[in-house]
């Protein structure tokens, strides 16, 4: 007969597998950066990503010298790839903040071994996202005009525009995420400093750890700072993508103007973000042999979050379609009909439904949730789907203007593609550098998950 404790353990499985203690956890994670020789595979991965990133560099150069005319943005499709990619990247960033802040406030222990990684991913994704609107201004060296500062030109930003809100939302988001990530890193960087043998590494890690000694007072302040930053980040998870959604929904354009946009975009962002976390963690834990720290349970939980947020996104699609019909407003009805059946981009809508709607239904089944292979495949499909979602919303709504005489078409140029693919290379290159140089998993937080960390009364057994 099973004991109650066995059942409890089955419902709440341990988050660290294998026979670990404080020392072995520290060794395992810090050795990746300090002791192990750079694996050959790392050079290949980094090399490829870095080369792909050159596409971005080249396109940016060409863009700056020739102007935004090298892209296919036109009338009526004035917003195209730049904003699709911006929203896509910003969305991907959201998983990091959700994992680090909201799951911390909810006492979810499974966040611990993936939060560092997801936060780094957030920063790099936001960096990629930020490039697009800045470059879309055509004169990126004047991007500071977006900020409200007193000047002799008599210029002042338009505060009623959600694009302006974006400037504040995204820059706040980037700042808080960076602080959160860095504050969480300090104790671990100090560990690396203490363990580094190389003089230069010692110096660099020493500088970055701000004289962390691990005293009780340090820890006390650290805990307060971390909790406050978590509190600050929590509304940001919702606000940033809500404001991104307002870029569209405050307009009167059918297909953009829907009240469900804020929560639906937030869910979509978390959905895309978890897909990217899975895409990165599944190979990482194999290459660095970390299946005991990033366990199958972690992957299953992430799969469940992906399913839940994906279903909210599907709910958004359903509501858009239902209310377009229910509204009985001719523009709404036409827009939906054009998007789904009649318009030239009808295929993108159904491809979207396939990628975001159908693919995630497999996650209902244990067989797929428990298989890293299938999770990986579904995550890639979802990433494509979330890109298509923005394509569908932006392109199909714009290309059929209110007057048929203003109807148009959109097809991206080679530079639209090189810029987008270039940012993917840039993103992965940064990830590779991060994995090599900093502890990918929070060492001290994982230690708190071990059985030795549990405070026991005298005489109570472990």
């Amino acid at each position: 007969m099973q004991d109650v404790n066995d059942i409890v353990r089955k419902i709440n499985p341990p988050m660290v597998e294998g026979d670990h203690d404080y020392g072995s956890v520290t060794d395992k994670i810090s050795d990746i950066t300090l002791k192990k020789r750079t694996p050959f595979g790392w050079f290949i991965g980094f090399g490829i990503s870095f080369m792909v990133a050159q596409l971005l560099l080249f396109t940016t150069l060409y863009l700056v010298t020739n102007g935004v005319g090298i892209w296919a943005n036109n009338q009526p499709v004035g917003w195209a790839f730049p904003i699709i990619n911006f929203v896509w990247w910003i969305g991907i960033g959201h998983a990091g903040t959700l994992i680090s802040a909201i799951l911390l406030l909810l006492n979810q222990k499974w966040r611990t071994s993936i939060n560092r990684f997801a936060e780094a991913m957030t920063l790099f994704a936001v960096a990629c996202a930020g490039l697009f609107p800045i470059l879309h201004t055509g004169r990126p060296w004047l991007a500071y005009w977006l900020l409200p500062y007193p000047n002799t030109m008599g210029m002042w930003p338009q505060f009623r525009s959600p694009l302006m809100w974006d400037v504040f939302a995204v820059s706040t988001y980037a700042t808080v995420s960076l602080l959160f990530w860095y504050v969480g890193l300090i104790p671990d960087i100090a560990t690396l400093r203490d363990r580094a043998k190389n003089k230069w590494f010692k110096y660099a890690y020493g500088l970055l750890s701000w004289g962390w000694r691990g005293s009780a007072r340090h820890w006390h302040r650290y805990e307060i700072a971390y909790l406050l930053l978590a509190g600050l980040s929590t509304p940001l998870v919702l606000s940033v993508h809500s404001i991104v959604s307002l870029d569209f929904s405050v307009a009167q354009l059918p297909g953009w103007h829907a009240t469900i946009f804020p929560p639906y975009f937030v869910a979509g962002a978390i959905f895309a973000g978890f897909a990217m976390v899975l895409i990165l963690t599944i190979p990482l834990r194999v290459w660095y042999n970390m299946k005991d720290l990033i366990t199958d349970t972690h992957l299953i939980y992430m799969g469940k979050v992906m399913l839940a947020t994906g279903l909210i996104v599907c709910y958004g699609y359903a509501m858009e379609a239902f209310f377009a019909w229910y509204s009985a407003a001719e523009y709404e009805v036409f827009m939906m009909y054009n998007r789904m059946f009649e318009g030239p981009y009808w295929w993108s809508y159904w491809l979207l439904i396939l990628c975001n709607g159908i693919s995630i239904q497999f996650l209902w089944f244990k067989r797929f949730r428990e298989s890293p292979f299938w999770l990986f495949i579904i995550s890639i499909v979802v990433s494509i789907g979330m890109w298509l979602e923005r394509f569908v919303i932006i392109i199909t709504s714009l290309q059929r203007d209110f007057l048929p005489s203003s109807w148009g078409m959109y097809s991206p140029t080679i530079f639209d593609w090189t810029m987008y693919i270039g940012t993917i290379g840039f993103f992965f290159a940064l990830i590779f550098l991060f994995v090599r140089m900093l502890p990918v998993i929070s060492i001290f937080e994982v230690r708190t998950l071990l059985p030795e960390a549990e405070v026991k009364r005298k005489g109570e057994e472990h």
Partner: protein
């Protein structure tokens, strides 16, 4: 420690009082339907939708706590279950709305006359017969979901091995995932049918979410009040701890914020769009007394509870939390009144009014009290029928331990 975990006798007095007040209120309201049919029915809808929110919300919370796990779910489960078992009573209370459909919903008359373009476009969806069929369907499906979750929970109490109890928990968890999807879809469409069609030309895609979140908040607040009452008496005082209240308080805070977030999204987007088919909803509701109610909701459905719930100490004291919960429940009622009150009365839809005089009737007070009394009487009856906690649940001991911690 008592092994049966029977609900305390203190509930009996409340139950009798509830039946007395409820019976009088309901009879008065029904009489009102002959004296002032329209006003009485609108009051009835207000009362119904408010209390139905707690009943249906109970099913929502039941599903949610099975999916997410957590200690709060174990202590709140029996209260949520009792809420979900009120669905049959809610159906009986819904009957006046079915019979009064032509007095309550102007679109039903327009559908009959066939003069309104938008209603004609929607075809069978806006035919009273189909509307009633859908309503019955919502009740049946929601009832079945509640029925099975309640059945397994009862079987769990009687399970003789931990294995069997674990299996039943596993089964409930498995069903709750798809169950939540179904629940959200049903609440969405029933909130469109019962509430959005009061303004038949108006639409908002976030409407369903507003009700899903609002009803979860209603039921959490109601449950906190019940748990606070029980927590000072045996047997719940041995089980429930400060930390449970703290956790539920956090969920209340989250839902207060979510409610504000959804409403603000809806307002901002409609305001900025300024389209003729959407804006009248808020135009009417921002003038005169209606506008004052809107501001009251901003301050007292959001700002005030939000600021108070930020305080950690407050969430850990059962009585204080319960007092705030009851206050929020009044705001929930006002929120429903804010939707129903200014909505067009019979013959008004085709006038496209941009200003509606403030109108409130005695029935807006009598019906919520009457329906509430009858509903509460049935709720207590259901609550008493089972042990007050799922003591056989594999997570039960963990949940108690969690509550006593800090």
């Amino acid at each position: 420690m008592s092994d049966t975990y029977q609900a305390p006798d203190s509930l009996n007095r409340l139950q009798t009082a509830a039946l007395g007040i409820g019976g009088i209120g309901v009879l008065a309201s029904l009489a009102g339907m002959f004296l002032q049919p329209e006003q009485a029915l609108r009051g009835w809808l207000l009362g119904f939708i408010f209390w139905a929110g707690i009943g249906f919300g109970g099913l929502g919370i039941l599903l949610l706590q099975y999916v997410t796990g957590g200690a709060w779910g174990v202590v709140i489960r029996r209260v949520a279950e009792a809420c979900s078992r009120t669905i049959p009573v809610l159906f009986v209370l819904f009957l006046p709305i079915i019979f009064g459909i032509y007095t309550l919903y102007d679109w039903a008359n327009l559908a009959l006359a066939g003069t309104d373009k938008a209603i004609e476009w929607r075809g069978w969806y806006m035919e009273p017969t189909w509307w009633i069929v859908r309503a019955i369907l919502y009740f049946v499906i929601l009832y079945l979901m509640a029925h099975f979750l309640n059945k397994w929970s009862l079987q769990q109490d009687k399970a003789d091995t931990p294995e069997k109890a674990g299996e039943l928990l596993g089964m409930a968890t498995k069903v709750s995932g798809p169950g939540i999807v179904l629940y959200v879809m049903l609440v969405t469409f029933l909130s469109v049918d019962w509430m959005m069609t009061l303004e038949p030309h108006w639409f908002s895609t976030i409407w369903g979410f507003l009700f899903v979140a609002g009803w979860a908040l209603s039921c959490f607040c109601f449950s906190v009040a019940v748990l606070a009452h029980l927590s000072t008496r045996s047997p719940l005082n041995e089980v429930i701890g400060k930390r449970h209240f703290h956790d539920i308080g956090k969920l209340m805070l989250a839902l207060v914020m979510v409610w504000a977030y959804f409403n603000f999204s809806q307002y901002l987007i409609i305001w900025s769009g300024n389209l003729t088919e959407e804006t009248p909803f808020y135009l009417v509701r921002s003038k005169g007394t209606w506008g004052a109610i809107g501001l009251t909701l901003i301050f007292f459905h959001f700002a005030f509870p939000f600021l108070i719930l930020l305080m950690q100490d407050f969430k850990r004291r059962a009585k204080w939390l319960a007092a705030l919960a009851i206050f929020i429940l009044f705001m929930r009622l006002l929120d429903m009144f804010y939707i129903i009150g200014p909505s067009p009365m019979v013959g008004e839809v085709s006038k496209h009014l941009l200003e509606v005089p403030f109108r409130v009737s005695i029935w807006d007070v009598v019906a919520p009290i009457g329906i509430g009394g009858v509903w509460f009487w049935w709720f207590v009856r259901e609550l008493k029928r089972r042990p007050i906690v799922p003591f056989n649940d594999p997570m039960f001991q963990n949940a108690i331990k969690h509550g006593k911690g800090h």
